[in-house]
């Protein structure tokens, strides 16, 4: 299995010296879905931002490698890297309510980058956008193309953002908690839609979430992140049957399943957390792919 | 929002020190004018007209900053001019503040008819060009220190009324005000004990700003020959005279201009600095 994206020993540090990520390594296979699981604050969104080159000003990559297919992103000049990312990767953001520009109609928000960055003809870009909107099950795509974001519901907007992410047929899409901001009923539909689109387009997908349940539904492989450190990289099935790290085991136990609906009440035991902290101090990382 | 405010806060120390320093110097200069001034600010000496400042050729001892076309000492006139400027700043600033802030507080807290009337008047006032209004008022009231102070109060009370009204409205909508009212406190006492302290930092900043503006208005009125009286030493009067002879004697314009510039800048920076320091949220 060739890797579409491989991150090796990535470290991110705040200007004041606080380390956000410590030697993170993970791989996303071509056309595969990789889940990145962790609690909020674990730094999982920062991995996505580091790959896309949109880290906040106060943060710097202080070590490691990000390879996109054969291309070493860290070795590229910032400008070239930006256009390269624009052509080859895309982001499905967390909050559909704030991720569309309120002063622009939907149509141009999907088509402009195809024309500006990829040099498509305007008519082609428009036709492509209409097709994609139909594909993400939006009724009356022509009307939606003319709408402003505030005229559409949150679920609709997330569908549009998904369509927009697939528009240029990128090789990798990073979905940053794409369902967290949505209603529970809409969450399921969107999740299904993302999985469907990914399968049809054969795009590699890095799925960032705090929800193990979501990961179990859509991912092939996954990483568990805690306090800026990858504790475990695993095949999906293997992880759910034979989790290796004590934190992973505790995490699984805390996830509600149909057989154990009260699992949500369980907590990661303090002893496990202490153990993880100990591990991190000793730079002990376990890779199991 | 938060981090942006923090950014502005960084140079606060230097800002307060510099502006406070200049204003202290100015107050001392004004108070000690009779001791410091080398000459009578009104004394003319036609044989010593348009003398340059001390570092230039042709300068005379005893006239460190030169003389104007009538041979009056620029430094002495500036020192005495500072007295007038500061009196106008303090008196006009304070009166404007008292009247404007009171009306704004009433409009913002009581709302209803008081607010409608006050806001309407403010709207009408905002439709006047302020400088023209001031000149018109001086034409009506006649020149003189009192007239200038009255004119400044009349044209500028709206600045306080507008800002304080908006602040008082925001504060009134807060829960702590409701709880004060529920606890049986009267409206007037709630206004004074709950609203006023929270609006005070803003009022303070506006007050120092207004002092700077008062100095400018006085200078503008002197410039169009409508200030205190033609022979009183005022910065505005000196600037007006310097403007006409700027090609022959630039120093008559430059020195009072620098003083005016620094004074106005210091008043407004002092206000901003004080506001940050006394703002209970930022402190």
């Amino acid at each position: 299995m060739s890797a579409q994206l491989s991150v090796r020993d990535l470290s991110i540090t705040l200007q004041n010296g606080v380390r956000i990520l410590r030697n993170v390594s993970l791989e996303v296979g071509a056309g595969r879905v990789h889940g990145l699981v962790g609690e909020s604050g674990a730094g999982k969104s920062m991995i996505g931002k580091a790959i896309l080159g949109t880290l906040p000003h106060a943060m710097n990559v202080t070590g490691g490698q990000i390879c996109f297919g054969d291309v070493d992103l860290m070795a590229m000049a910032p400008k070239a890297r930006r256009t390269w990312i624009g052509a080859n990767a895309a982001l499905i953001p967390q909050d559909p309510l704030t991720a569309l520009n309120p002063s622009k109609r939907i149509g141009p928000q999907i088509t402009r980058r195809l024309v500006d960055i990829l040099g498509w003809a305007k008519t082609n870009a428009k036709a492509r956008a209409l097709d994609l909107l139909a594909e993400v099950q939006i009724t009356d795509p022509a009307r939606v193309m003319r709408s402003y974001p505030h005229e559409l519901s949150g679920g609709m907007r997330q569908r549009i953002l998904i369509a927009s992410a697939f528009a240029a047929e990128p090789k990798l899409i990073i979905a940053d908690e794409p369902t967290t901001a949505l209603d529970v009923t809409v969450q399921k539909q969107i999740l299904k839609l993302i999985a469907q689109m990914q399968a049809e387009h054969g795009t590699a997908l890095l799925f960032v979430t705090h929800d193990l349940g979501v990961v179990s539904k859509v991912c092939d492989t996954m990483s568990v992140l805690y306090a800026g450190k990858v504790l475990e990289n695993a095949q999906m099935r293997r992880f759910f049957t034979h989790p290796i790290h004590p934190y992973s085991r505790a995490l699984l136990a805390a996830t509600p399943t149909y057989s154990n609906p009260t699992g949500s009440l369980a907590q990661v035991p303090q002893k496990v957390i202490d153990g993880v902290e100990q591990d991190i101090r000793h730079h002990d990382i376990r890779n199991h792919i | 929002m938060r981090d942006a405010r923090a950014d502005i806060r960084r140079p606060l120390g230097a800002r307060l020190w510099l502006s406070g320093g200049w204003l202290t110097l100015l107050v001392l200069g004004a108070l000690l004018a009779p001791l410091l001034a080398p000459h009578d600010p009104l004394a003319q000496d036609l044989f010593a007209g348009r003398l340059p400042p001390f570092w230039q050729d042709g300068a005379q001892r005893g006239y460190p900053l030169g003389t104007d076309s009538l041979g009056r000492d620029v430094l002495s006139r500036m020192l005495y001019g500072a007295r007038l400027a500061l009196v106008v700043a303090l008196v006009a600033g304070t009166l404007t503040c008292l009247i404007g802030a009171t009306l704004g507080l009433i409009a913002g807290y009581y709302r209803g008819w008081a607010d409608i009337i006050i806001s309407r008047i403010v709207d009408i006032w905002m439709a006047f060009p302020p400088v023209l209004f001031a000149i018109l008022l001086i034409a009506v009231l006649g020149t003189g220190l009192t007239s200038i102070i009255i004119a400044i109060v009349v044209i500028d009370w709206t600045r306080f009324a507008r800002v304080v009204r908006a602040e008082a409205m925001t504060q009134s909508a807060m829960d702590y005000v409701a709880s004060a009212q529920v606890s049986g406190r009267g409206h007037f006492s709630t206004m004074l004990t709950e609203i006023l302290p929270n609006v005070l930092p803003t009022i303070l900043a506006l007050l120092t700003l207004e002092m700077g503006i008062a100095v400018i208005v006085e200078a503008i009125l002197s410039f169009v020959n409508l200030s205190i009286s033609t022979d009183s030493p005022t910065w505005g009067g000196m600037i007006a005279e310097g403007r006409t002879s700027v090609h022959q004697a630039w120093w008559v314009l430059v020195f009072p201009l620098i003083a005016l510039f620094l004074t106005v800048l210091s008043f407004s920076q002092l206000g901003e600095g004080l506001k940050d320091r006394f703002d209970p949220v930022l402190r």
Partner: protein, 336 residues
């Protein structure tokens, strides 16, 4: 229906404001000491001459009576006759209005240009010394009013490095036969670039003096607003699309950041127009403001009334236009 109601209310308050201005000016200037008629007559005029002129200008009637006669005239477009020049006030005032409008609009454009550049540069240079320098200079520019900037400019570009004209609107030698009083506009249309250059040379300093404080306000506010917008998700998303930082700031963030600045610029533009009064005086620029000060000094009551009312009208029109622009530029309001 609701929109109509809003528009009606808005117009009603506008008229109320203008009426208020008219009343105040009218009554304030009737208190002006000194008999304006006496100044018009040659020495040795008889009592009868004075009485005849007073009757001609309506000064023999009671003040409220005078007010309603004047108001009736105004509603028919007749603002009375100037005492000092004996010309119709409307003619005098409309003759000077173009000069003031040109000055104000040029100043506004300069302010937007300078302020916008400062805000965009500051945003691109986040966290650098350039940003710090921009913050400090806008802080200073903002605290010092146009009058002082005018004097500073006179020293810089009139005395120290005399490249611009220090007074007037146009050099007499170049005063071609203009058909309108919009000299700059007309010179541009007639392609008289020599005249245009002369006009710019005269207008540069007064316009810049008016523009500096407003440029600082625009710079500060727009930069702040951009800073907040740059943190939003759609801006981050645009970055991943491969656009340059410049494109992200100007195309994605700016259109949304500009709205709060716009309302403020409207109010500030009325302040700028108010500032022309003293700036025109300072640069001997023949506009409304300069005429207004002369009118006050000459006790020319009808002229003062006309000018103040015109200023008030100008202010309210600017505010109306800004409110409409706000609705047009904001898609959320446009479709509401």
């Amino acid at each position: 229906m609701n929109l109509l109601r809003v528009i009606f209310l808005r117009l009603a308050t506008t008229f109320l404001t203008l009426f208020g201005v008219a009343v105040i000016v009218f009554f304030v200037i009737r208190v002006v000491p000194g008999n304006p008629i006496a100044m018009m007559l040659p020495p040795g005029a008889t009592e009868a001459d004075v009485a005849r002129l007073q009757a001609q200008y309506g000064f023999d009637k009671s003040i409220p009576e005078q007010f309603f006669i004047w108001l009736g005239g105004v509603l028919q477009g007749d603002f009375g006759t100037s005492i000092s020049t004996r010309q119709p006030v409307s003619e005098l005032v409309l003759g000077r209005l173009p000069a003031t409008l040109e000055l104000s609009v040029v100043a506004l454009l300069m302010a937007c240009l300078i302020g916008g550049t400062l805000a965009l540069t500051g945003t691109r240079m986040r966290g650098t010394r350039t940003e710090g320098a921009i913050d400090v200079s806008t802080g200073v520019a903002l605290s010092v009013p146009d009058f002082l900037w005018g004097l500073v400019l006179i020293l810089l570009f009139g005395v120290l490095w005399p490249v611009f004209h220090i007074s007037g609107r146009i050099s007499p030698s170049l005063d071609i036969d203009f058909t309108t009083n919009f000299y700059m506009f007309e010179a541009l249309l007639r392609l008289r670039f020599d005249v245009l250059a002369d006009l710019v040379g005269h207008m540069f300093m007064p316009a810049l003096a008016l523009a500096i404080p407003l440029a600082a306000i625009i710079g500060q506010l727009l930069k702040q607003s951009l800073k907040e917008t740059m943190h939003l998700d759609y801006v981050a998303l645009a970055r991943t699309k491969g656009y340059s930082e410049r494109h992200v700031i100007t195309r994605e963030a700016l259109p949304n950041a500009i709205l709060p600045t716009l309302t403020l610029v409207g109010v500030q533009f009325t302040f700028l127009i108010g500032g022309t009064v003293i700036i025109e005086r300072l640069f001997s620029y023949e506009g409304l403001g300069n005429m207004a000060i002369d009118a006050v000094i000459n006790r020319d009551l009808p002229l003062i009334q006309g000018i103040v009312l015109l200023f008030a009208l100008l202010f309210t029109v600017v505010n109306l236009v800004v409110d409409m622009l706000y609705v047009v530029l904001n898609p959320r309001l446009r479709h509401a």
